[in-house]
Amino acid sequence: MSVTEESPTVKTFVFKTPHPITNIAGQHYELRLTAENGYQAARLYSAVVTGTGKEEVTLTIMNVKNGEVSPYISEDLKVGDEVEIRGPFGKFFIWTGEEYRPVFLVGGGSGVVPLHAIFTAHRDSKSKAEMKLLYSSHTYEEILYKDDFLSSPDVAVTLTRNAPEDWEGLTGRVTKDMLGAIVDSFEAQPICYVCGMSLFVDAITEALQVAGIPSTSIKTERFG
C-alpha cells in the first residue's frame, strides 16, 4: 500500500491485490474493517483508476470527522497493513466509450471521485461526445485532482466557503443559473451524473429538472 495526500483531509491509497483487477469508470469497491472482537464495518469507495488489469486498487478517501471507517483508514492504517476489499461493483453509475450522448457531471466534495474516474476515462478514450464537469468544493485547498481539473476548459469549480483572492472561478453554492448555463452550453441535451451527499444530490437533481433535463436522463449516486 502507498499513500499520497490530495488535500488536508483526503488521501489516495494504492492497495496491492493478490490478483489482477479490472473495473469500469464509475464503479466502486467495498472496504471492510474487522475489529479484534469480530465486529465489522464496511463502506463503499469509488475506483479512482479505470482498470487495466493491474494487481492494485486505488481509492481516494476523505477523512469524515467522527466517521466509523474513514478516520481509521486515514489516520491509523500503515503501509504494510492489510484490509479486506471486494469488488468492483456497480452497473448503473458507470461510463464507457460506448456512451455516445454528451455527459454533464456534477459533484460535491468527495462525490467528485467517481466523476473524476469518468472524466479521465473519457479524456483517455476516443470518444467524441462532449463531457463537462461542475465541481463544488468548500475551499481551494480541498479541490481534489487539481492537475486534471484546473487546466481543463471542460471543468468549472465553484468554491462555497472561501476563495483565494486571485480565484477566477465560480463561488458560492451551485445555483439553478450555474447549472442552466452549462446545460445550455452543450450542443445537444446531456445525460447527467450527480454524486455527493444526499442533500446535495437532491438540490442538484431538482435544479437540473428545472433546467429542462428529464429525470430519466439523470443518474445519481448518494454517499450518505
Partner: protein, 205 residues
C-alpha cells in the same frame, strides 16, 4: 481467512461502549412478532423492487439466490432493549438490488419496505445505500427460520431492529415519506439506537 484491523473498534468504541444506551446484551435471539408467523413458501416467494427506479423488477427465489451474497458480522439492537453482538449475516446488498432495477430515479428519497402480511416500514434512501442494508437469507450461517423472518428479511443493523422487516416482499422507492406500521403506532420515525429514538415524541409513553 479474515483480516483483523488492529486498533479498529468501530461504532460505540471498545467493548465496554459497544452497547447503545438503555440496552442489555443477550446471547440468545429473542423472537418478537406482531400476529401469527407467516410460513412463506420459497416456490412462490418473490421480491419486487419498484417505485422510483428505472427498471422495476421482480425476482423469484432461484433468481434471487443467483445474486452475489455478501456477509457482514455486526451487532443488532432491538427496541425492546436487547442487543446481540457479532452476528454474521448473509444476503444481497441493496446497492446490488437497486443496480438490477436500473438504479434509483432522482426523486427516490424514501424506501417503503413491505412484507407478505402487508406490514410496512419506512427508511430514508440515504440509510439503505452505501452497503448499509441487505435482503438477508442467513444469520449465524443458518437459513433464517420463519420466526426470524425467513426465508428473507431486510437487514439494516444501524437502526433499531423493527426497521429490518421480516418476510420481505417489496421494496418501493418513493418521493414522499410514508410512515409504516410501527411508526404510526407510536414508534420513532427513524430509530437510531445510539440516540435512543424509541418512541415518537408525541406518543405519550
Amino acid at each position: 481467512m479474515s483480516i483483523v484491523n488492529k486498533g479498529f473498534v468501530g461504532k460505540g468504541g471498545a467493548d465496554s461502549k459497544r452497547l447503545p444506551p438503555g440496552q442489555s446484551q443477550v446471547t440468545s435471539w429473542p423472537v418478537l412478532t406482531y400476529g401469527p408467523t407467516p410460513h412463506v413458501d420459497t416456490k412462490t416467494w418473490t421480491l419486487t423492487i419498484d417505485g422510483a427506479v428505472n427498471k422495476p423488477i421482480t425476482l423469484n427465489w432461484d433468481e434471487f439466490n443467483e445474486l452475489a451474497m455478501t456477509r457482514l458480522t455486526t451487532d443488532i439492537h432491538c427496541v425492546t432493549r436487547w442487543s446481540r453482538f457479532g452476528m454474521p449475516w448473509d444476503g444481497v446488498s441493496l446497492d446490488d438490488l437497486i443496480g438490477l432495477a436500473g438504479g434509483l430515479a432522482p426523486d427516490a428519497k424514501f424506501l417503503i419496505a413491505s412484507t407478505v402480511e402487508g406490514y410496512t416500514t419506512n427508511l430514508p434512501v440515504r440509510d439503505v445505500v452505501n452497503n448499509q442494508a441487505m435482503v438477508a437469507t442467513h444469520a449465524d450461517g443458518e437459513p433464517l427460520t420463519p420466526e426470524h423472518g425467513g426465508p428473507a428479511r431486510l437487514f439494516i443493523p444501524h437502526l433499531y431492529f423493527w426497521k429490518s422487516a421480516k418476510w420481505i416482499q417489496r421494496l418501493t422507492f418513493t418521493k414522499e415519506d410514508h410512515p409504516g406500521f410501527w411508526e404510526v403506532n407510536g414508534y420513532h420515525n427513524y430509530g437510531d439506537p445510539w440516540k435512543e429514538e424509541r418512541y415518537s415524541d408525541d406518543a405519550g409513553w
